[in-house]
Amino acid sequence: MSLSIVIEFIINVLSMGSLYALIALGLVIVYGICKLINFAYGEYITAAAYLLVFCAGLSLPWWVAFVLAILGGALIGFLSELIAYRPFRGRSLDALLVTSFGISIILQRVFQVFISPRPKAVNLPAFMSATISLFGITTPLRNIIVIITTAVLLLVLLYIMQKTPLGIAMRAAAENFTTARLMGVNANLVISTAFIISGFLAGFVCLFWVARTGSVEPTLGASPLLIGFIAVVVGGMNSLPGAVVGGYLYALVANVLSLALPTSLLSYRDAIMFVIVICFLVLKPEGLIRGNYQEERVG
């Protein structure tokens, strides 16, 4: 195996893994605090992507469009919690789960009816589709950008969770919500923050997702949601590091399969991925990284 193949493989795993880690983190940060699997998370990504299409159509500088899409993702995360989840919070977790299905479907229909059922092309700056040559290989520049962006985001998130009072409170609330409230941690504050971070991550995800697909359609969020689930099942639903590990591991396995499978079996790659996921569910349902979170309802 030549060096360039190895380097290409590493870059592929890291870039795909970075994106998947961001996707998974957005799911787990909400799950950790609310014990809610937020099916509407995919639609946060779609909504941010439509906002990107819209902003990119205006004659704004590219970075303004990017920032607006990311902030839009954070805003929809915040608003969906405020409007749809909060009224049901005292109820059972099942009620919340059904609510999240509901929001997901409503948003998809809204995109279909008020925007378009057909894919909308997005106008991204040239560097998002440019390639660069590195160590003797040629790779899309956005692969390098996503690796660096994710590394920065992870460091920022790590700093927030470890060093700021709000981050410490969020970790405490994820472990034991009621006791955290008994210590004066405001329930609405930590839950809103979790949804805002989730939407914020969805905003970043949409940038790189759309750069790959080139267009946005109402069901765009379904694939990243599925990827997020898989990463989370592998890494562990109960810890933020688990989500990151799951994301990178998913990318590693997918890339290994792409290399190792004979061409005739390549179309079965996803099926094989699912078999691996099912094995995880059966053999190691808590995921690779267990975390300390309590399985207790938030009320």
């Binding site: 009072p165 410490i168 409170a169 970790r171 405490a172 472990e175 034991n176 009621t178 006791t179 955290a180 409230r181 008994l182 210590m183 004066g184 941690v185 405001n186 329930a187 975390g291 300390n292």
Partner: protein, 253 residues
């Protein structure tokens, strides 16, 4: 605080009063009309057998459980139905049964959460020093995970965490549960020390006799009702079955 000690018991102002609390889980009532009162600087203990509703009272006073009816007033404010974080902000700290520290957070972070709603840097440093003086072990283990502490140390941490908000009322739910005799002595010494510093304390203890001996007043709870309230030494004569609740004897009479 010193003038408080010279004031006689009866003249002290009432800091918390609960009247006719009905509290349940789902449709099952656990408290059937409980009333109680705590005065500033008092040490009051609640005793009663397992399942009599002691924890339920504390969780209701702290805002975790909403009473179906009844009223709770704290420092003159009606706190009935308020959220736990709001009640905490007003100055009520609960050290829950079973310690409930945050195991993956460090000792430092656990303490920091204790002061989450009322953080002021200078005051925080001062309080931290006080905690280190009361619980030297927390200084030693300051940067270790809370989950790595022993049961007794975790209880120290839970109490210290409760104290970090400088509460006006400290509620301790079975602080000596599951601890070795040495540790139990330590906890009781600590409670007396806190009392001597003027802290108002509501205490639930498995070791009811010992708790009663250091308490100003005692409430005896049975099946979600107050059977007796008053000075510990009056309890035995006032109530026939008291020995059952106090000493754990199997048979009455």
């Amino acid at each position: 605080m010193s003038e408080l000690k010279t004031t006689s018991q009866e003249e002290r102002e009432v800091i918390l009063s609960a009247s006719d609390l009905h509290v349940g889980y789902g449709s099952v009532l656990a408290l059937h009309g409980v009333s109680l009162e705590i005065k500033k600087g008092e040490l009051v203990s609640i005793c009663g057998i397992n399942g009599s509703g002691k924890t339920t009272i504390m969780r209701t006073l702290a805002g975790v459980l909403k009473p179906k009816s009844g009223k709770i007033t704290f420092k003159g404010t009606d706190i009935t139905g308020k959220k736990p974080e709001q009640v905490h902000k007003l100055g009520v700290a609960l050290v829950p049964q079973g310690r409930e520290i945050f195991p993956s957070l460090t000792v430092a972070e656990n303490l920091r959460i204790g002061a989450f709603g009322c953080y002021k840097p200078a005051q925080y440093q001062k309080d931290l020093e006080t905690m280190f003086e009361l619980f030297p072990i927390l200084k030693e283990r300051y940067n270790q995970g809370g989950g790595l502490l022993s049961g007794g140390e975790q209880q120290m941490l839970a109490i210290a965490r409760g104290l970090m908000s400088n509460p006006d009322l400290l509620m301790l739910d079975e602080p000596s549960l599951g601890l070795s005799p040495n540790r139990v002595d330590q906890i009781f010494e600590l409670i007396e020390e806190l009392k001597s510093r003027g802290m108002t304390i509501l205490l639930v203890e498995q070791n009811a006799e010992r708790a009663a001996s250091i308490s100003d007043r005692v409430y005896l709870l049975s099946n979600g009702r107050v059977e007796f309230s008053g000075k510990a030494e009056d309890m035995a004569s006032a109530i026939d079955v008291a020995s059952l609740y106090m000493g754990g004897k199997e048979e009455v009479k």
